[in-house]
């Protein structure tokens, strides 16, 4: 019963039955929800019961827009440019100790510059992707995402549940033609128990089921070139190279977290989370034979402290994440065509990332209609990728520092917001050691390109402008333009997004 109730809240673009909104002016609610102070602890990302202590206001928003990205910055397998159209709706309702939220989005676009990869969701299933040496542009995709959650705050206990579903289709209308469908279902749940007068202790869980069907076709009458199955750092599964173009991925994740939260947002908050994601890469043509699997452990911590004095708020937040991905390849004996018996397995691939981000936030509310903030941050990130046979390694570590600034002004029926961010990234150390891989081979130049991009120094900047205009007492329209730029040595990227929407 609760399951279907949650599904309902996922259909957000609907008139809502909990009619009475918070009486505060609509523009104040909009400004409040966009502020960096709201959910500064990031607690609801882990435990849905934490929404019961969120400072977020009730708000419904819908917008449509377009996005264009160009340049040559990016991991080659993910592409360097894209254009898409998006339609999104978001809702948050708080009433009488009950909290309901939902989100629905649709995206339709085209990716460019995707090289050496005909599999979707590269960041989820790497390195076991299907690799070809042709495809670059015109990768079309459609993505649907729905999510919904419910939380309830009782006198001592609070609980919450959230369900999210994402479906992605990628295809191309010229050779090589991938036909990929990815399906991602996530379930979060948790409870909070009032421990002291102003703190609550929570525990949450996280479950995920991931499936992808990844098939490649060639319509050319003369045949198809060689397709390989990538296994990281320029290596591939030799036994399955050739014309095996039908694969699938099946995976699941499970995680737990514990949390400490202040009841009224100000104070210390801390979250410790652990999750494990594992999946198998399966060749559909050989009785759905798994040929490799990945096991990834992620340890996350978020510690934040938020306080306020008369007219200003201050916060400090430390986030760390340690991810350890291990890939295992299987060895086979084929007594007969089409039949493979697994005889051994070897853990050959590893990717460890370690990162920490420290942020300060200062937000000034001296004037009712003028609010400004400044948030400097420093980030440390390290990645080590390795393969054991042949023995190859790629690693780098980088330090970034920057600041985010913004101000918003309310005048009459309008709310204006301008935000800017500038970050400088500097590589501390980087090495690429790939014996046996020729730099001018296809896989070699792809790897060297990615390495140079990841180990580049440079500047990232972002600028956005938003205007909300109150139409009636509880309706407003919104226009947003944002621009993002990445300027690294030899790599650059530009993104431009424009959206129009309504809020109520």
């Amino acid at each position: 019963m609760k399951f279907r109730f949650l599904l309902f809240v996922a259909m957000v673009c609907l008139p809502l039955f909990l009619g009475a909104q918070n009486d505060t002016l609509l523009l104040y609610r909009i400004r409040n929800n966009r502020s960096l102070l709201t959910d500064f602890s990031r607690a609801p990302d882990f435990n849905p019961a934490a929404r019961a202590f969120s400072g977020r206001s009730s708000l419904h928003q819908m917008h449509i827009g377009g996005h264009r990205q160009s340049g040559n910055a990016g991991i080659r397998q993910q592409g360097t440019g894209q254009t898409f159209f998006t339609a999104e709706a978001e809702s948050f309702i708080r009433h009488d100790g009950r909290f309901i939220w939902g989100n629905a989005s649709y995206r339709n676009g085209q990716k460019d510059g995707v090289e050496g990869n005909e599999t979707s969701d590269f960041s989820t299933v790497y390195p076991y992707v299907m690799m070809d040496s042709i495809g670059r542009n015109n990768l079309n995709y459609e993505q649907y995402a729905f999510s919904g959650g419910y939380a309830q705050r009782l006198s001592l206990l609070s609980w919450g549940m959230e369900l999210a579903y994402r479906a992605l289709m990628e295809y191309r209308t010229q050779d090589p033609r991938p036909d990929n469908i990815a399906s991602d279902l996530r379930l979060n749940g948790g409870v909070h128990y009032r421990l002291f007068s102003c703190y609550t202790l929570g525990a949450g869980f996280h479950l995920r089921k991931y499936k992808q069907r990844n098939e490649l076709h060639f319509y050319s009458l003369l045949g198809a070139p060689k397709i390989v199955h990538y296994t990281g750092l320029g290596t591939d599964a030799y036994m399955f190279a050739g014309n095996n173009m039908r694969t699938r991925f099946q995976g699941a994740a499970r995680g737990i977290n514990i949390q400490l939260l202040p009841v009224d947002r100000y104070g210390l908050s801390a979250t410790l989370g652990y999750s494990n994601f594992s999946f198998e890469k399966i060749m559909s043509d050989f009785q759905n034979l798994p040929i490799a699997d990945v096991n990834e452990d992620t340890y996350t911590t978020v510690i934040a402290y938020l306080w306020k004095r008369d007219k200003y708020h201050m916060g400090v937040r430390l986030q760390t994440e340690y991810k350890d991905r291990k890939g295992t390849e299987y060895k086979f004996h084929s007594p007969q065509y089409g039949n493979y018996d697994k005889i051994a397995e070897e853990r050959l691939f590893g990717n460890k990332t370690n990162g920490g981000k420290l942020e300060f936030l200062y937000e000034n509310h001296a004037h009712q209609h003028w609010v400004w903030h400044i948030a400097p941050h420093a980030l440390f990130f390290k990645m080590e990728e390795s393969h054991r046979n042949p023995s190859r390694k790629m690693d780098f570590s980088r330090l970034s520092a920057g600041a985010d600034m913004g101000f918003s002004k309310m005048s009459g029926r309008s709310l204006w917001q301008v935000n800017g961010e500038l970050t400088y990234q500097h590589t501390l150390r980087s090495t690429l050691n790939v014996p046996g891989l020729k730099e001018n081979s296809f896989a070699g130049q792809l790897l060297h390109n990615n390495y140079r991009y990841l180990a580049s120094n440079g500047v990232c900047s972002r600028l956005s402008l938003q205007w909300d205009y109150l139409l009636k007492q509880n309706r407003s329209m919104n226009l947003k333009i944002s621009w993002y730029n990445q300027s690294l040595k030899k790599y650059f990227g530009n993104c431009l997004t424009m959206t129009v929407g309504v809020s109520f």
């Binding site: 003369l222 070139p225 036994m239 190279a241 801390a270 340890y299 007969q336 065509y337 070897e346």
Partner: protein, 402 residues
């Protein structure tokens, strides 16, 4: 006060979290393999020398060459499935005379697992025939300018690599029934004694009608016409010595000036992706008797995509002693096994690198030239191993003269 303790506790958890995982520095799993070669059965008084083994691991494609050994080899290999090929020399006494020869052994898909493994392979003595050789097979066909397949221009070249005049009368060309890219457990498995063929075409003649001088050759074509009329990228086969023809196949043209091959069994349709092998043989019995006594019926179970297909088939078998030359063809990404005994041909050659490779058209496999004689004729290489005897993806010889 409680807040401070909480904070410290959390910082401790964070630092533990950072150092939670340790590196696993396990070594890659290896096995000590003990490989023994069994001498040929007929031999009693012999010595083996210069034995060397090549191990090709099926999962990674890695090749390992062993040190020379005599009798038993101990070698450290990573776990996996190996194709093993052994070559060496043998010196033996027969009828009071000392002879030297070559020995070979070959077996595919051997599982090597665990701490220790033991394998043994039977050695075969290489028997040299003084007869014709297959020197070129053009099986891929050509491409038209509109990028379509053109199949009518296939041919094979039979070469006299010996020093005497040979007669081609009665020589038989066969294409194997089994494919080098699909390995099945055929019942009964006769590959050690004979080759299963899906067609046999025979050069006509009473015995001395078709002499071929040393260093000269015969071209046997599918259709002996000038194909350039229909496909400018094709070849002129008007001058072929023989052609194979049957009335029941569409698209066949009979050039009455060129003698036809005798269809001993079924029709020759060369596999255009190079998945079937070819043999050259001489049948010592009468045709009628051969067709009566040498049929080969087999069955096997084929499991594909979750369904079992119990299959059976019929073809003809040519005993290995009658086979004069054999060439295995396959493709690197699909190769599973050779479909002749390793004693006839231990390796394979190819056009193209993958199944349905668009680059394979207009290419053939050609035997390598060992030496050129003073009179201009050539001696071709024949070590009964097509992997080294042939040039893959070669320009067809009949296209070179255009």
């Amino acid at each position: 006060m409680t807040k401070k303790y909480l904070f410290l506790f959390l910082m401790m958890m964070v630092s533990i979290g950072f150092n939670a995982c340790q590196d696993d520095n396990d070594e890659l799993r290896t096995t000590i393999l003990s490989l023994t070669v069994q001498s040929p059965e007929e031999m009693t008084d012999f010595t083996l020398s210069e034995l060397q083994a090549v191990f090709t691991e099926r999962n990674t494609g890695e090749k390992t060459l062993s040190d020379p050994f005599t009798g038993t080899l101990m070698i450290l290999l990573p776990e996996g499935t190996y194709d093993i090929a052994v070559q060496g020399k043998i010196s033996y006494w027969i009828n009071g005379k000392r002879q030297t020869g070559e020995v070979k052994a070959s077996k595919e898909s051997n599982v090597v697992l665990g701490e220790k493994a033991v394998l043994s392979l039977p050695l075969m003595l290489v028997i040299d025939h003084t007869d014709f050789l297959i020197s070129e097979i053009f099986f891929t066909g050509t491409q038209t300018p509109e990028k379509k397949q053109y199949n009518g221009d296939k041919y094979m070249v039979i070469y006299n690599n010996s020093d005497e005049v040979l007669y081609a009368d009665g020589l038989v060309i066969g294409q194997t029934d089994f494919l080098t890219v699909t390995k099945h457990a055929y019942r009964p498995d006769i590959m050690a004694e004979a080759v299963g063929v899906d067609c046999l075409i025979q050069i006509p003649g009473t015995g001395k009608e078709y002499p071929v001088d040393p260093g000269k050759y015969l071209v046997i074509a599918d259709n002996a016409i000038d194909h350039r009329e229909y496909n400018p990228q094709s070849i002129d086969l008007n001058k072929a010595d023989f052609e194979w023809y049957s009335t029941s196949l569409g698209g066949e043209v009979d050039n009455t000036d060129v003698p036809n091959m005798f269809n001993l069994y079924d029709r020759m349709v060369m596999h255009n992706r190079g998945f079937k092998s070819f043999i050259l043989a001489r049948i010592p019995v009468e045709n009628e008797q051969y067709l009566k006594d040498y049929r080969y019926h087999y069955d096997y179970d084929f499991v594909f995509n979750g369904i079992t297909y119990p299959m059976d088939g019929d073809c003809y078998k040519v005993p290995n002693e009658w086979v004069v030359d054999a060439v295995n063809l396959s493709v690197e990404s699909e190769f599973q096994w050779i479909v002749t005994s390793p004693a006839l041909d231990m390796g394979w050659t190819s056009c193209g690198k993958v199944d349905k490779d668009p680059q394979r058209y207009g290419k053939s496999v050609r035997r390598k030239v060992l030496a050129t004689n003073p009179d201009g004729t050539q001696k071709l290489q024949d070590t009964n191993n097509s992997s080294v005897d042939f040039i893959p993806d070669a320009t067809p010889s009949l296209m070179e003269n255009k």
